[in-house]
């Protein structure tokens, strides 16, 4: 057996006094697992490729960390992106990329798992590989180098990073990481048959993960893809996503991590369901996580109770893609609010649904607190636009909803919109100004106050794979910026209401690069490498993002190709075009997606299959899954499947009674 690698902390320690927020590199989280290197035969390093403050709260990593560490013979530690100040010192002093758990060098692990919720983490992956001494190109790795595995939503199109990763897992990771661990263990026990290539072949054949190097991509003369095909017999033509079917059985994280360093989420999260079938056409998350699978109310209550006792957090967030949509959410929030009315614990429900019910929920959760701000997401400025994106909210709904909110004592309403949606015109976006003014007018009327405010927050739309908009042309950044400038002027020029309306937006350039990385193919890997070599890091952070660097990287890297940055972004695709991710199966039927794209252009909506009959998106058929929603029969506070009791939620509630 190989010797346990030494901790690099001694070498890192002298560097820490010279960097910003050194505590983020120290680990020491409450509930972090100390595991015995020698007792494990499969060792994972899991990375969230962004700063610790963003990555540490991520539920995906926390879940997989626990699931893996619970498994006999498996060890898992975590690593995060280091900021450029530490990166420079690590290079100077020859300190490798390390885990925060035991400060072991990442290069010593069997697997390096990367969690990509966004494509903007790709350059940080390259930094980590490079600091770890792992060859950037998968083809240059040999036996003994970790197997680099991508997961998370962005892994549904891993083609732009195909040259850098060994494998990609699509969908829920819980069972997939265990299956991968078994494959790696068997291969090690058998004496590494076939070397690294042999291991990759085993993984590809199992269907657990997609192994890009075992597929050939052929191109047409005009740059489009001709076809993608497996190189070996026995390897699936299409690789399917994983779907976890019983959230109550998988009640992770059971002991959430409590970081010492300050993070973006200073609270505990409980995931109340997975998937979303509202069918918003721009939403990749909603499309690729189908079907809806709810955690039962008893399961939620038990997780809240156990998690609070294990963490000491003072706030719990009920997390999902659209939390007000849980079929038993009213019972859950009332129950939790009752349990906490005596304690110093608060609850939050991130939900942006535009209806009165959502306001009721927010009222319930703020029973004892101050009513500061509420957020709604109509997403499209005009009625027409909302039909295109399938956000079924009328202006009347919106005005009625915000009126209810202001009347209930809320002072500030935030409205989320997108700019650059397919078929959008200047006028569609300018409607936002009118709507916001109307919100303030009605708000003043119902509340009788002049100090109410409304903030309009606008994000640039980026077409994503596996959505009906995967064929759409992205709006160029010049037009995006011009449209937003028009909107800003329109809002500011409103003498009566303009001062009560805040507006927040970013320029259109970062969206173009996100678009390139989202819908790119393998040739985009060269652009990523070029941009990284030119210094690209932390691309999700405006202070680090440099559009010109990416632009020039794209022109250098694609100089000999018939394709370009524009070709990948602002070009509309045709039905017959082979898309880079067509061989990756999210369950959605390609024809259904195309029809939905056509329906979008025709401004027609679809319903939510939770409340109305199945509309054959293909997922359940293809994946052998089904929707899982309430009502559940088990009462809250009653023993759940795992024999937990849900009452009381707050330990302090009884000691103070």
């Amino acid at each position: 057996m190989a010797m346990a690698p030494e901790s690099v902390f001694d070498r890192l320690e002298h560097l820490l006094p010279c960097v910003q927020k050194p505590i983020q590199y120290v680990g020491g989280e409450v509930n972090a697992v100390q595991s015995d290197w020698d007792a494990a035969d499969v060792r994972w390093a899991l990375m969230y490729p962004d700063a610790y403050e963003v990555g540490a709260p991520n539920q995906g990593v926390q879940i997989l960390y626990e699931v893996l560490n619970e498994q006999p013979g498996v060890l898992c530690e975590r690593t995060y992106a280091v900021w450029p100040d530490l990166e420079a010192l690590m290079r100077e002093h020859d300190v490798p990329q390390f885990t925060v758990d035991a400060h072991r060098p990442v290069g010593a692990f069997d697997l390096l798992g990367l969690s990509f919720s966004t494509e903007l983490g790709y350059t940080n992956m390259l930094t980590a590989l490079d600091l770890a001494g792992i060859p950037l190109m998968a083809a240059d790795r040999v036996d003994g180098h970790p197997l680099v595995v991508a997961g998370g939503h962005a892994a549904f199109n891993p083609e732009p990073i195909a040259d850098f990763i060994d494998a990609a897992v699509l969908g829920d990771g819980e069972q997939a990481v265990l299956a991968l661990s078994d494959i790696v263990r068997d291969w090690k026990v058998a004496g590494h048959p076939g070397g690294r290539a042999g291991l990759l072949e085993r993984i590809a054949k199992s269907g657990v993960a997609y192994v890009p190097s075992l597929y050939d991509v052929e191109y047409l003369a005009d740059g489009r893809i001709r076809r993608v095909l497996p190189k070996l017999a026995g390897i699936p033509w299409r690789v399917a996503k994983h779907t976890l079917m019983d959230l109550d059985e998988w009640d992770y994280p059971r002991a959430p991590l409590v970081p010492l360093a300050e993070t973006v989420h200073e609270r505990m999260s409980v995931e109340i369901f997975r998937g979303c079938t509202r069918g918003c056409r721009f939403c990749q998350a909603g499309m690729i996580t189908r079907p809806v699978r709810e955690r039962s109310k008893a399961g939620i209550a038990a997780m809240v109770k156990r998690g609070l006792a294990a963490t000491g957090y003072e706030e719990v967030g009920l997390l999902s893609l659209s939390s007000a949509d849980h079929s038993e959410i009213a019972e859950v929030t009332t129950y939790l609010a009752d349990c906490y009315s005596d304690s110093q614990t608060s609850l939050s429900l991130p939900s942006t649904r535009v209806d009165a019910f959502n306001v009721d929920l927010a009222n319930e959760l703020s029973r004892n607190g101050r009513r500061s701000g509420l957020t709604f997401a109509p997403e499209g400025g005009s009625e027409r636009m909302r039909k295109v994106i399938n956000k079924q909210v009328t202006e009347e709904d919106l005005i009625r909803t915000v009126a209810t909110a202001y009347a209930a004592g809320w002072r500030q309403v935030k409205l989320y919109f997108m700019c650059g949606l397919p078929t959008e015109t200047d006028d569609d976006v300018l409607q936002i100004a009118r709507m916001a003014a109307e919100v303030i007018r009605v708000g003043r009327e119902v509340s009788g106050r002049r100090d109410i405010r409304c903030t309009v927050s606008i994000g640039g739309f980026v077409p994503k794979p596996h959505t009906p908009f995967q064929w759409a042309a992205q709006l160029d950044h010049e037009t995006t910026d011009a449209r937003l400038a028009l909107l800003r002027d329109r809002i500011r020029s409103n003498r009566e209401y303009g001062k009560a309306i805040g507006i927040r937006y970013h320029d259109g350039k970062p969206g173009i690069i996100e678009g390139l990385l989202s819908r790119g193919d393998r040739r985009v890997g060269r652009v990523i490498l070029e941009a990284w070599r030119a210094g690209a890091r932390f691309d999700g952070w405006s202070e680090y993002f440099d559009f010109e660097r990416w632009q020039s990287a794209a022109s250098i890297a694609l100089a000999d190709e018939p394709v370009s940055l524009d070709w990948y972004t602002v070009r509309e695709r045709e039905h017959s075009e082979v898309l880079p991710w067509d061989h990756l199966d999210s369950g959605l039927d390609r024809e259904w997606l195309w029809e939905d794209w056509q329906a979008a252009v025709d401004e027609e909506g679809v319903e939510d299959c939770r409340w109305t009959p199945c509309f054959d998106c293909g997922v359940c058929d293809q994946m052998g899954t089904q929707i899982q929603v309430g009502p559940t029969s088990v009462e809250m506070g009653m023993p759940t499947a795992r024999g937990e009791t849900g009452i009381p939620l707050s330990p302090r509630a009884d000691s103070m009674a």
């Binding site: 001694d10 320690e13 989280e29 010492l260 300050e262 110093q344 029973r367 209930a408 004592g409 000691s655």
Partner: protein, 255 residues
Amino acid sequence: MSRQPPREFVAPVQRFRIRYAKRGQLRFASHRDFQRAFERALRRAEVPMAYSAGFSPHPKISYANAAPTGTASEAEYLEIAVAEHCRADDLQTRIDTALPPGLDIVEVVEARTPDFVQRLEGSRWRIALPGVSPDAAQRAVTALLATHDVVVERLTKNGMRRVEVLPAVVDIAVTEGRAASVAESSETCAIMQVVLRQETPAVRPDDVLAALRSVADLAPQVPPQVTRESQGPLAEGGNAGGITIGDPLAADREA
């Protein structure tokens, strides 16, 4: 739906003074990091805290003279107020168990006397200078003490601040030893024992090091390791007739 009034004030029935340590890797925790960790540990340990009134009630905790980020400490102090009667030894084990290793509760004493913070007159800091010989350190210290006024600049939240160092320096002694947390194989180096008076604005070990750099060019290649060893009332005496630091909890223990 009707709005309920803000939460009531949960009145204190008893106060405790706590000495805690910040050790090893966790010395990189800032004071804010420690505060969050401590408040969460109180909740995990189910300590019946007293709370302030208002929309966002805070547990009643007062912190004194926290050591800077990156500095280890054996002698940090804080005071908590509880809403139910507690036993000091029980609190000590419960809170210590709930805190991550490296943040350790050294002692808990019920508060029975006033003016605790005034008793924290000064601190003894151990400054290990890896790679610096005791002779070199002694020469620099002698040079520093021979000057009259040394002003160093420090970046604070409110911009650059000028700090006069010497008035706060009560004593500096140089010995030989090992840097605490560096690998065992490491060589011995200079250890400075510095006693600093608590002043406003506070003079920190970093300022003394900056002064040594500016007066005597003492610039260690490896960052020094600083530990606050004790904190309390200053008194003449001790074996060498120098300055000693008393136990600030003695009065409460004996009262």
